[in-house]
Structures are given as structure tokens and as C-alpha cells.
Symmetry: C2
Subunit: 398 residues, 2 copies
């Protein structure tokens, strides 16, 4: 990278007050507490936990999650999987469809590569064409010599994605899913591993009763599909899915065996607006954008963090009510600016030069905007920069 | 960066069909035509042209613009200025406020560095505090020895930003601006260079009459301020501002001497929705996200480009009606997916594996998501990859 940021390496051990703005900062203490709560939850409920690395795109955090009890990580992109494996995380599930033959060749090569290390790669499919192309790529990798000595016995775990209500990818639950499982079983390089059943929309249903009802519909669809698979003599395998908004429901369902929740380690402003399921652990905000007021006016102040510093797809960031800095609302000021006004019932505006912390609306695409996350221990008020965490898979979208 | 993308260097000379998805692609022929139209416009209207490099963050494109007649570039961030200077672009205007002393020290060091190369750095201010801090940083740089041999005569050009209607940064036009100009003139290391008068909101006013009226108000505010400056015996200097939505108005105003328009080289979907000013050249779309259908359904198709591939702050991307691929609407499918449905009056859905081109809603933050832009000549249908353009200042937000 061409960025002249020598100050980053010099920052370790310095005060939180020395961090230049805008910057993405992790409250490491809060994040570790969140991590511990989730690990404990998964253990208590006897479900596997495979957090989505699409959130943090960071090998170091993936390893920290595995150390805490995760069985591996999910990713959405082939290039993310490659980066995780290159960093030493060798149990990776691409929970998404891949169709391009050139990309499937990379998936197959990766599967060969981790097989020798005791790792494994899994992938989702939702079409006969997708199964056929994957099988072809795996067959070619088994006989090809491009990536060292291929193992003719290497298989890839394949999950059939079913649409449990999101209306995006996935075949319809029921017979269509069974058809795909039967097709997968025809190919020796593919192993039918179970069902991908993630309901993205459920995650953000605020009311807990409505969320439960939507999740219950998804679970019925999963159960129906499992019954049909069994009727065909196929073991349904593992059902994997769930996110930070709903995982307590999937864990209690008796049908899901693996949770993909990842966002809870940072807990964005959007997820915090959900009415909390009492069964679910209480998570703290742990990811912040540090920003400074660069322009002051009678009616508003302007800070140096706009939507090149944080994603706004799930709402604008909130000003962290911390150290007497509450009572401010953030308004969109464009790519590089945020506009701050007093919240209802407040009058005070921050001074020129004042430093503030923003809670991003949506952590995943916010992290993707940054090359690094600055890890602070000892809290935001007077903590110390403990480490610089590389966003290894930033921009890895292929 | 840790991204395993050796395929990028191998891509040069290959067909457009070999580009992996999703990818950011420039139609170089269209971009060069846009560039020529703008250079011709500026020449014909006797205004300087200093395009905003916040759009492309690319040294190569900045140099191409200077070669075509631009006097230099604008940036919004100190780190962007550093990257432009490091790449050999040494006439850079930071059209934004900088308040942090550590960052102002970098601005001052940069000013010293380019002074020896015949270049110059300019910056905007909108507060007495800002002028004072900048003067202090410049004074320290004049006597310090951190960056080679400082030149005690080096000055920085300072523009007073006035708020011409956007309600973001900038002092009120009139006496407040004069006060700042007087303050700037007290400091030997600062040179009052003129007024920064950019009206961001005007850029996106669709109706041409309404746009003209809003711009006319801004121009009155500029004129008033210039008159007050003259009354104080201060030459108003250069008035700089304007964007792709309004620059023909500023060029005709008789008060603006420099246009900052930058987006026209790529021409995003948002700007294309403006009712075109007949005086303004006609620009073509030149920046696209190439994407592939990875999941097909009866009601919709899903492509592999979501809002980690393109910004959605100014609307979702449009599907490029090209090569018989029109008649599709793009809906938000989250971070990594786009949902495609037939437009009104159409029924056809794209096939699994089909490749499509998207026109981003807003180019600036879209480019910032990518490490590279793939430059194609000979058109999108059967062209050739001519070069890989690095987004040098991607993520440079400090």
C-alpha cells in the first residue's frame, strides 16, 4: 500500500488520545467479553459455532475466535477463504454460491491445499448447474498438478442452501433441496454435508415476538427438508445458519447444529436496536470510529468522519454517550464529513477540535473501508493502544 | 496487502471477458472523451480547472488530468495530499478544514517539500482558531529541521471557506469571511489566496431552473464577500468551487475563477439524473462494476456485487442497458449480493453465470472500496484490458 502511515507502528503502547482521526478503534476488553459470552453460550447449548469472518476480515480475530471455541469460520468470497487459509485458518466454509469456473478452480485448489494440513473447505450450492461446475473443478484439481501433489481422495463439503424466507439465494425448502442433495451424492469429490439455512431478514426484526414467528417459519422449512431427506435415505447432516439477531432461537430449535453469528463481537448500532431475547447474552459495543470536530457553527458542528469512514447502509452512526459526550445526533455530511446537532432535550455542541466516538450502524461494511483496526485496552477514556489489527481481506470481493 | 491477486498483472492485454467478478472497470475510451470535453470547456470559458482527486484517489489519473490542462488537483484529506505529492503531483489544494496540530504539522512539512520542486500546497480554513493553528504549524516548519532544509520563505495558500448554502463547513459570507482574510494576512507564512465556495447541495438539484436559482444565491453571497474584501483593501483572489452538477453556472458567473468538478470523468448514475444544462458538455458513463449472476430463481436473479462492491449512499446502481442486457432493475441484496428483477414492461431474467455491468450510484465512495480499477480500451463488449490503475489513496481518510 502507498499510504504513508508510519505512525501506526509507533502507536503501540501510546495513549488512546494519540490516535489520529478518523480511525477505526476496537475496545479490546469489551470485544473479549463479548467473545467469552458467545463461546459460553454455544457450549451451554451444545451447538457448534462458526462465526462469519466477513465481519472482521481479520486472520488474527479469526484465530482468536477458534481459540475461544469456534470450529472454524465462514466467509462469503473465495478470495476471503484464500486469505484466511494463507493466514493459517484452515477450516473455512464459503457460505455462498460460486459459479465462475476460474473461481471454482481456486476453491478446488484451496481444498487440496488444506487437506494436507488436516483442514477442510466447505461451500454452499443452490443449483444443479452449480453442483456440476463444482464437481468438474474438484475432479480437475484431483488429477491436475498445478498445486503441488493433488490428493485424489480429497473431497469438499457441500451444503445445500435453502431459502428460509430471505428471498435471495437458496432453493426452495423441500423436494428441490433433496434433488440437489441426490445430485451432490453422485460425485465422488463432493460430500453432502447438510443445509445452509440463514435468514438475513429475521436478524433485524426489532420486536421479539415477530422475530420468533419469522424464525419459527424458517425452522419449519428446515424440518420439512430434513424429513424429506431422511425419506430418501439421506442423513440431513449439519444445519448451519443464524446471525447475531437470532442465534438464540436457532440454538433452541433442535434442528440447527451450527451458528454463524459474528457481529456480536463488535455489536453495531443496528443490532443494538433489536428488542433483546432474554436467552441471548448481553453484548457491548466494541467497535468505534474516532473522529474530531473540524468546523464549528451556531447550529451545528462538523466532524471529520463521513461515509468513507463508516458504512451507512443500516443507518447512520450514533455518537457514543460516553465521558459526558452524549446528547448529540449525527447527520450525513457526505463522503468525508459528519454533521452533529444537539439531540432533543440537549443544547450543547462540541467544541472545535473535540474528539468523539461514533458507533457504526453496520460493522461489516465499515470494517471493509479500513486497512487496520486499532486495538485499545483499558477503555476508550484513558486506555492504551495494544495492537494494530490488519483487515487482511479488506476489499477481497471476488 | 495480503490479497492473492496475481491474476491482475496477467490480465493486461487479455479480453474484457477474462475479468473476474465483481470488479471495478473503467471504459478508458469514454473516460478520455469526457476528459477532453471538460478541458475544452474550461479553456473556452477562461476558467482554471482543478479536479477533485477525492473521486479517483489515483495518481495516474491526476497526472492525466494535469496533462489535459488541469492546474493541479483538490483533495479532502491530508493523507490524500501526501499520496498525490509522493506520486509526483505537486500542486495540491486541501479543500477542507484541518484542525489537529499533528496533521497541520504534516501539511506544513508537505508545503516545505513541494516548495523545492516548484509546487504548492493550499488549504481551506473557516475559523480564527484554524488560522492560528495553521500559522503555528507553518512557523514551526520554517524553523524546524525534521524535513531536510526548511525554507524560511515558504508560504501556504489559504482559502477562506464560505458557506454558500450547503450548511456544512464554511463561515457565513460577508464580514465573517473578511475577518478571517484579515487574520490570515497577519501571518507571514500564510497567503490569503481567495474563497472556497462549493455548494454541494446544488450539484444534485435535478430541475435546471431550480439548480440555476440555488446557484445564483451562492454567487450573490460570493459577490458580496468579494465587495467587502475590496472595501477593506484586500484583493479577493481566486474563487474556487463547483462540481459536475453545476460547473457551467460557476464558469458563466464571472466570479468563479476555478472549477473543482471531478466526477464527470466517470459520470455516475446520480449525476446522470440531473436535467442537463445545455451549456454543459454531454458526459458518458465510464465507470462500471462487472458482476456475475450466481443464483437464479423464478422471480429474480442474484449477482455477486453488493454494497462492498459499490457505494449506495446516492442510490443503488443501475444495470447498464448494453449488448441486449437492459430491462433489469437492481435491488439491495446486502454486503455481497445484488437482486435483479425485470424492469416494468420486461419479463426476461439473466441466466445463471451471465455477466452484467452496473453503473454505480456514486463514484467517489465506490472507487474507495477498491484497490484497483481495471482500464479497458475498445469498449465493454469486446475490448482489451489496457492497464491496471491503482487506487493509491484508497482508505486514506486522515
Amino acid at each position: 500500500m502507498n499510504k504513508p502511515a508510519p505512525y501506526l507502528s509507533e502507536l503501540i503502547g501510546k495513549s488512546v488520545h494519540d490516535i489520529d482521526t478518523p480511525a477505526l478503534v476496537i475496545d479490546l476488553d469489551a470485544m473479549k467479553r463479548n467473545l467469552g459470552r458467545m463461546a459460553e453460550f454455544a457450549k451451554k447449548h451444545h451447538v457448534l459455532w462458526r462465526p462469519h469472518a466477513k465481519l472482521h476480515k481479520c486472520v488474527l480475530l479469526a484465530k482468536m475466535q477458534v481459540k475461544a471455541g469456534a470450529v472454524g469460520v465462514c466467509v462469503q468470497k473465495t478470495s476471503e477463504a484464500e486469505i484466511m487459509v494463507a493466514g493459517g485458518v484452515n477450516d473455512v466454509y464459503i457460505s455462498n454460491e460460486v459459479i465462475a469456473p476460474a473461481k471454482l478452480a481456486r476453491v478446488a485448489a484451496l481444498t487440496q491445499a488444506v487437506a494436507g494440513q488436516g483442514g477442510q473447505i466447505a461451500i454452499a450450492v443452490d443449483s444443479l448447474e452449480g453442483v456440476g461446475r463444482l464437481a468438474q473443478a474438484m475432479t480437475e484439481a484431483r488429477t491436475g498438478s498445478r498445486n503441488g501433489t493433488p490428493n485424489a481422495a480429497t473431497v469438499i463439503d457441500v451444503f445445500v442452501e435453502i431459502d428460509v424466507g430471505q428471498g435471495r439465494c437458496g432453493v426452495q425448502p423441500g423436494p428441490d433441496a433433496v434433488l440437489l442433495a441426490l445430485e451432490i451424492r453422485k460425485h465422488p469429490a463432493l460430500r453432502f454435508a447438510g443445509l445452509q439455512a440463514y435468514h438475513g431478514k429475521v436478524q433485524h426484526v426489532r420486536n421479539i415476538q415477530e422475530r420468533r414467528m419469522a424464525a419459527a417459519d424458517a425452522m419449519k422449512a428446515v424440518e420439512l427438508t430434513c424429513q424429506l431427506l431422511k425419506a430418501e435415505g439421506i442423513a440431513p447432516g449439519l444445519v448451519t445458519g443464524a446471525g447475531t439477531g437470532s442465534f438464540a432461537l436457532e440454538a433452541a430449535s433442535g434442528v440447527y447444529g451450527e451458528l454463524q453469528a459474528g457481529s456480536f463481537i463488535f455489536m453495531d448500532a443496528d443490532y443494538a436496536q433489536n428488542q433483546r431475547d432474554p436467552v441471548q447474552p448481553c453484548f457491548e459495543h466494541a467497535l468505534f470510529v474516532r473522529t474530531q470536530v473540524i468546523s464549528g457553527h451556531a447550529s451545528h458542528a462538523v466532524c471529520d468522519a463521513g461515509h468513507k469512514s463508516h458504512a451507512i447502509d443500516s443507518g447512520l452512526p450514533q455518537v457514543h454517550a460516553f465521558d459526558g459526550q452524549g446528547g448529540l445526533d449525527y447527520f450525513n455530511g457526505g463522503d468525508e464529513h459528519g454533521i452533529l446537532r444537539p439531540s432533543a432535550g440537549h443544547t450543547r455542541l462540541p467544541d472545535l477540535g473535540q474528539l468523539l466516538w461514533l458507533i457504526p450502524g453496520h460493522c461489516d461494511p465499515t470494517v471493509n473501508l479500513h486497512d487496520v483496526m486499532i486495538g485499545v485496552s483499558g477503555g476508550l477514556k484513558s486506555g492504551t493502544v495494544e495492537r494494530i489489527l490488519q483487515v487482511d481481506a479488506r476489499g477481497a470481493i471476488t
